[in-house]
C-alpha cells in the first residue's frame, strides 16, 4: 500500500467540483481533461470531414453524370441544384452536427462519447438549446481563425499587424488553459462546461459472511484480527485493498498479503492469500464503519 495520496488521485481531486442538486445532494462532477476534449474534437472533425468528403464525391459523381446527360457548357439545372445542396449542406453539417448530438439525451457528440465526456450546464440547471447554440457558434473564432492567422503569419505576409492578430486569436485558442474549469470561450458564453460522463457498474459485494467470520475455505483456520491489528490502517488502505480484491491478480495479492502480515506482525503463510485478505478486508471495514457511525473517521494509516 502506497504512502500518502497518490499523485493521480490528487490530480483527480483537483478536477472535482460539487454541484448541489435541488434535493440537497452534493453531486461530484469531474471536469473533463483538456487532452480528452482535444481528442474528442479531433475525432469529431475526422467524422465530419470524412462525411463531407463522401458527400462531395457523391455530389461530383452525380453532377458529372448529369452534365454528360445534358451536354451543356453552362451550369444546368440539376448541377446547380447539387451545388446549392452542397453549400447549404456543408454549412448545416458544420453547425448542425455538434448541436444535434449535444442536444440529445447523452449531451455528447460521437467523439465526446468515445472520450467519455459530455456537456452540462455549469449552474446545475438544464442544458438548454440556446446554450448549446451559443457554445457552438464560437467554435469558429476559437479554432479556424487562429489557425488561419497562424498559418499566414508564418509566411510573414501581413507583417506586424498579422502577428498582433495571431496573438489576439491565440488567446481564444488557449482559453481553456487559463481557467480552472478548462472552459473554452464558447463554454463561458453559454454557461456550460464539459465534464466526465460517469459510467460505473454495480459490482458484487465482496464481504461474505464466511470471510468476515474469518473462516478460510482452503486452510482449516479462522482469521480473527484484534482491534489493535486492525487500527494500523485507514480508509485509503481499505479502498486500495478493495481494489486489489476486485482486480484479483495473484501476484498483487501475494505482495499485499505479505505487506499486511509484516505490518501487523504475523508470519505470512502461502496459498491462502485471498481468504486472508477477504477476512482482513471485511473485519477492517466493519471496524471503520462502526467508528464512522460514531463520527470517527480515519482517513489513512497516518491519521
Amino acid at each position: 500500500m502506497s504512502a500518502g495520496t497518490a499523485p493521480w488521485i490528487a490530480r483527480q481531486q483537483k478536477r472535482r467540483r460539487d454541484v448541489v442538486t435541488p434535493e440537497g445532494i452534493a453531486l461530484p462532477f469531474t471536469v473533463a481533461g483538456r487532452g480528452a476534449r482535444f481528442g474528442a474534437l479531433l475525432l469529431d472533425f475526422i467524422i465530419l470531414y470524412v462525411g463531407m468528403l463522401i458527400f462531395l464525391f457523391l455530389a461530383m459523381y452525380i453532377a458529372s453524370g448529369a452534365g454528360e446527360l445534358l451536354d451543356d457548357k453552362k451550369m444546368s439545372g440539376p448541377v446547380e441544384m447539387i451545388v446549392v445542396i452542397f453549400f447549404v449542406g456543408m454549412f448545416l453539417a458544420r453547425y448542425g452536427y455538434f448541436m444535434f448530438f449535444e442536444l440529445g439525451p447523452r449531451g455528447a457528440t460521437p467523439g465526446k462519447r468515445v472520450a467519455g465526456i459530455r456537456v452540462a450546464a455549469r449552474d446545475g440547471g438544464r442544458l438548454t438549446p440556446s446554450a448549446v447554440l451559443a457554445r457552438n457558434l464560437l467554435r469558429d473564432i476559437e479554432i479556424f481563425l487562429p489557425l488561419v492567422f497562424i498559418l499566414t503569419a508564418q509566411s510573414g505576409e501581413g507583417g506586424a499587424a498579422a502577428i498582433a492578430a495571431t496573438l489576439w486569436f491565440a488567446i481564444f485558442m488557449l482559453f481553456p488553459f487559463f481557467n480552472r474549469d478548462a472552459m473554452r470561450a464558447g463554454d463561458l458564453i453559454a454557461g456550460t462546461w464539459v465534464v466526465e460522463a460517469p459510467k460505473a457498474k454495480l459490482l458484487e459485494t465482496i464481504t461474505t459472511a464466511e470471510a468476515a467470520a474469518g473462516r478460510s475455505s482452503v486452510a482449516d483456520v479462522a482469521y480473527r484480527f484484534s482491534d489493535a491489528e486492525l487500527s494500523v490502517y485507514g480508509e485509503y488502505e481499505l479502498q486500495t485493498l478493495e481494489k486489489v480484491l476486485r482486480d484479483d491478480i495473484p501476484t498483487a495479492m501475494v505482495n499485499v498479503h505479505e505487506a499486511i502480515c509484516r505490518k501487523i506482525g504475523w508470519n505470512p503463510g502461502a496459498g491462502d492469500e485471498r481468504a486472508f485478505l477477504e477476512a482482513f478486508y471485511a473485519q477492517l471495514r466493519a471496524k471503520l464503519e462502526g467508528d464512522m457511525r460514531f463520527g470517527k473517521r480515519k482517513k489513512d494509516k497516518f491519521s
Binding site: T21, I25, F87, V88, P129, I189, L203, A209, L288, R293
Partner: protein, 354 residues
C-alpha cells in the same frame, strides 16, 4: 424488425437472482442489498432514455423515474456517511448523476424548440437586446457617413475601403453607363441559386464572426460594423457622383434591408455579450456572460435564417427585377415584415410562450 442477435447483445441483461440479504454481515452491505433492486431499475430506465428509446419505456417506468431518482439520491447521501465500499459509492454517484441529467434534462425535442423559437422566442430575444440594437444602428449610420465623408475628401480612400472584388467597374471616374450596367442584369437565371448558396455561406460566416468577436467586450464587433458600413458609404458617394444614388439604393434595398438588418442584429448580439461582461451589475461576470450569451445565440440563429432569405433575394429578386420602384417595393416590404415580426405583436407572442 430487429435481428435477434441485437437483442441479446444490447438488450436487457438476464435478471440476477435476488441477493441474500441475511447473509451479509456488514450493515452497509445490508443497506445496499436491500436497495440495489431499485437502483438497477433506475439504471435500466436511464440507460433506455440515454439511447433515445423512449417508446420502449412503460408508463410505470416514466412515473417511477423521479421517485427512483430521489431514492437513489438519498441512498447516496446515506451511503456516504455509513459505507466504505468504494465500488458502491462510485456506482451510486454515477447513477445519480446520470439520472439527474435525465430528470433535469431538456424536456423538449429539437423540433418543439424550433416551433417555440420561431413563434416568439426569437422575437423576444431580439426585443431584449434593444439597447444594443440602438447602439449598433447608431454605429452603422456613423460608419456610413464616415465612409462617405472620407471618400469625398480624398478619392484614394475609396481604394483603401472597398475590397477589390467590388471595385471591378465601380471605381471613381467610371461613367454613368458603366455604373448603370453594374446595377442591371441580363435577365437569365443561370447559376443564380448556386450564387445564392455561396453568398449565404459567406455572409453567415461574416455575421457569426461579428457575433463571436463581441466576446472581447464588443469592440471588434463595432469595428467590423464600422468598416462594413464605411464601404457602403463610399459606394453611395460613388453613385452619387453620377446622380444614381436612388437607383443604387433601390438595387441594394432588395436584399440589403434583410441583410443589413441581419448584420445589425449580429453586431448587436455580439455587443450585448461584451456590454454585459463589461458591466455585469450585481451578477458575477460568468453569470452575466452566460445569460447574455444564451440570449445572443438565439438572435444569431435568427440572423442565419435572415441571411438565407437575403441570399435568395440577392441572387433572384435583385437580378431579375430591374425597375427601381419594384426594387424599392420588395426591399421595403421585407423590412416591414422583419420589423413587424420582431417588434410588433408583442402580446400574442408572449401568450404563445407561456
Amino acid at each position: 424488425m430487429k435481428a435477434p442477435i441485437l437483442r441479446t447483445l444490447f438488450g436487457q441483461q438476464a435478471v440476477a437472482a435476488p441477493p441474500d440479504i441475511e447473509a451479509a454481515v456488514l450493515r452497509s452491505d445490508r443497506f445496499r442489498l436491500e436497495r440495489e433492486g431499485e437502483w438497477q431499475r433506475l439504471e435500466a430506465i436511464v440507460t433506455r432514455m440515454e439511447r433515445g428509446r423512449l417508446r420502449g419505456l412503460s408508463d410505470d417506468d416514466v412515473l417511477a423515474l423521479p421517485a427512483l431518482y430521489r431514492t437513489a439520491a438519498s441512498s447516496l447521501a446515506v451511503a456516504r456517511e455509513t459505507s466504505l465500499d468504494a465500488a458502491t459509492l462510485r456506482y451510486l454517484e454515477a447513477l445519480v448523476q446520470r439520472a439527474w441529467y435525465q430528470v433535469y434534462g431538456p424536456r423538449i425535442g429539437f423540433f418543439a424548440w424550433l416551433r417555440r423559437f420561431l413563434g416568439g422566442g426569437l422575437s423576444q430575444a431580439v426585443r431584449e437586446i434593444w439597447l444594443d440594437i440602438c447602439i449598433a444602428l447608431a454605429v452603422m449610420v456613423a460608419g456610413t457617413v464616415v465612409g462617405w465623408l472620407l471618400v469625398e475628401r480624398d478619392v484614394e480612400w475609396y481604394y483603401a475601403l472597398v475590397p477589390t472584388d467590388f471595385a471591378d467597374t465601380r471605381v471613381p471616374g467610371a461613367s454613368r453607363q458603366q455604373l448603370l450596367e453594374a446595377l442591371g442584369h441580363d435577365g437569365s437565371t443561370n447559376g443564380l441559386s448556386a450564387f445564392a448558396a455561396f453568398l449565404f455561406s459567406n455572409n453567415a460566416g461574416v455575421s457569426i464572426m461579428a457575433f463571436a468577436l463581441g466576446f472581447a467586450f464588443g469592440i471588434p464587433s463595432l469595428m467590423l460594423l464600422i468598416h462594413n458600413m464605411a464601404v457602403l458609404g463610399a459606394m453611395l458617394w460613388l453613385f452619387n457622383t453620377q446622380g444614381l444614388v436612388v437607383d443604387f439604393a433601390a438595387w441594394l434595398s432588395v436584399h440589403g434591408t434583410t441583410e443589413i438588418f441581419a448584420i445589425l442584429l449580429a453586431g448587436a448580439a455580439g455587443m450585448h455579450i461584451g456590454r454585459n461582461m463589461a458591466f455585469p451589475g450585481k451578477r458575477s461576470i460568468m453569470t452575466a456572460a452566460a445569460e447574455s450569451g444564451r440570449r445572443a445565440a438565439q438572435v444569431m440563429a435568427g440572423v442565419v435564417m435572415m441571411l438565407i432569405v437575403a441570399a435568395f433575394l440577392e441572387s433572384f429578386a435583385r437580378q431579375l427585377v430591374t425597375a427601381t420602384p419594384a426594387r424599392f417595393a420588395i426591399g421595403g416590404s421585407m423590412l416591414a415584415f422583419w420589423l413587424l415580426y420582431y417588434f410588433a405583436f408583442r402580446r400574442t407572442m408572449r401568450e404563445n410562450l407561456e
